[in-house]
Symmetry: C2
Subunit: 173 residues, 2 copies
């Protein structure tokens, strides 16, 4: 079980970035995302993607981060540009344990740095929490996302040119 | 030389996502980004990061994508969820050649699918162009970004807890 916990989400300002974080979580092997602030729009977008493209990814918004953290029984990683390198973190993290991956929007309060088992940086340069989630999950899961089958109504077939899409909905008609 | 070409950028709607694309390009080993629509704000943000954190990354907005493409002498890759897998693409791409990495915001016109040497998908699931740029550059450069030195005024030291920042500006005072 891998879950992403998005904290400091501001629906107006962060709508698109948090949506990207959620979809990246789903595509790179997470099972769910929790978002601290209630946001119907993001829930709708994620449900729509899951309905069309499959998988069992779930989303819950309007959660208390500390409640999620306190009842979490696996590892807790906080992604921040100030953290330890991914390589070093994977020497101490047990990748067989459940993972809660905390990723902040606005400035993250100090208690999250303290409560995490480890703070991890995907590079110590400023870039994007969207990329950080993707690269960290890529490493943590040992690239297993490349072989994930989502079995949705829509399946895209890799193609050097053009678009190849299989829609099982079409087949039913 | 690796450049990212962002097409279909709409300053109001895409400001934050395109900024993340630019910063990810810089952090994961690209030398520059070209953005089709003129956008002073993104230029300012990227210059500010480069001034503080170093490196020789450059940004140019308000460019003609077709002019850039026509004079490009290396490989041209278009990132799209409909494309070939990254693994397959790296069997045909010469990673020693210059790379132009095209990444769209709104719906990408068909001519870009045709003009690219190869269309590449970072997974065939909907997620984020920010993550796609990060993962593709990670693979294309064989993770060399992990060892990049930016030599900026500000350097962050990896840390399991807390924040460790060295500022050469402080040293001068």
């Amino acid at each position: 079980m891998i879950s992403v916990l998005r904290i400091g989400h501001r629906p107006y300002r962060d709508k698109r970035i948090t949506t990207h974080v959620a979809l990246v979580a789903r595509a790179f092997g997470a099972d769910s995302i929790f978002i601290d602030t209630h946001d119907d729009k993001i829930e709708e977008t994620v449900h729509s993607v899951c309905n069309r493209f499959g998988g069992n990814f779930s989303i819950q918004t309007g959660v208390s981060p500390m409640k999620i953290i306190k009842k979490w029984e696996g590892s807790i990683v906080h992604l921040t540009m100030y953290g330890e390198t991914v390589k070093e973190s994977l020497k101490v993290l047990d990748t067989k344990k459940d993972l809660l991956l905390i990723v902040g929007a606005e400035k993250v309060p100090p208690q999250f740095y303290d409560i995490a088992d480890i703070n991890v940086a995907v590079g110590n340069q400023p870039h994007s929490e969207v990329a950080a989630v993707a690269i960290f999950l890529d490493r943590f899961t040992n690239q297993s996302w490349e072989h994930d089958q989502f079995d949705g109504e829509m399946t895209i077939i890799p193609s050097k040119h053009g678009k190849k899409v299989i829609s099982t909905d079409d087949n039913k008609k």
